[in-house]
């Protein structure tokens, strides 16, 4: 089972993670990742950013990534929440939560979901700096991180 949400509003981390284990006694490990807006990128101060996405495809891509994770590891539940629209430094961007019987599976699946999200889910960041706004360039290191899950 996997749940995916794309939304403008912030999320309550505690409540969302709690939802992965609430009423269950088979979860032995819950791994999570939270991505935040950093105040600098490529040496420049960031005043804010806007996240654009492809409505419809984004949700499908996230669901597909979670389904792949469920196929590769023995997971009980997964959750991905990703924000869109205007954000400022310190804001949360993304939450991934993975519940499993054992920690190893949860840690690996959480990292896999983030690596695939960064290279396959249709989101684009535009940063605002003192010199104007710029589209963030994709990083080769993200492709390398995703490649390691192949084979």
């Amino acid at each position: 089972m996997a749940r995916v949400r794309v939304q403008a509003e912030d999320f309550d981390v505690g409540r969302e993670l709690e939802s992965l284990t609430h009423g269950r006694t088979d979860v032995g490990g819950l791994a999570s990742f939270i991505g935040l807006v950093r105040k600098t990128n490529d040496g420049q101060a960031i005043q804010g950013m806007t996240l654009e996405h492809y409505p419809g495809m984004t949700e499908k891509a996230l669901e597909d990534i979670c389904a792949q994770a469920h196929g590769r590891w023995d997971l009980i539940d997964t959750l991905v929440i990703h924000r869109v629209g205007p954000l400022v430094p310190g804001d949360r961007i993304v939450l991934v939560g993975v519940a499993s019987a054992h920690r190893g599976q949860a840690f690996e699946a959480c990292e896999f979901i983030m690596d695939y999200l960064k290279t396959r889910a249709p989101f684009w960041k535009r940063e605002d700096t003192a010199e104007g706004s710029r589209w963030v360039e994709a990083r080769a290191s993200d492709d390398v991180a995703a490649e390691r899950w192949k084979g």
């Binding site: 891509a61 961007i93 989101f123 684009w124 589209w135």
Partner: protein
């Protein structure tokens, strides 16, 4: 006809977010659509020049130049993704 969508920097560069396009005759693929776009004036030729880094999805699934395109399909072009 197919629906074409453009996102992020590509959308801004082309000044277009959505359009309807008649399919090229014969067995259309993403490649034959790109050929049509590349033959347009202005920034289109440059944006779709060989070697340019863009991605394509057909009906909201990642695709490539060889992917077939049929009437009613939704074809989206966009830069490499930068979420997370």
């Amino acid at each position: 006809m197919v629906t074409l969508l453009y996102f992020a920097s590509l959308r801004e560069r082309l000044g277009c977010s959505r359009e309807q396009l008649a399919l090229p005759s014969g067995n259309a693929t993403v490649s034959s659509l790109v050929e049509v776009l590349r033959n347009r004036d202005g920034g289109w030729t440059e944006a779709f020049a060989p070697g340019k880094s863009w991605r394509v999805a057909v009906n909201q699934q990642m695709a490539d130049l060889a992917t077939p395109v049929k009437p009613g399909d939704e074809v989206a072009f966009f830069p490499p993704v930068t979420g997370g």
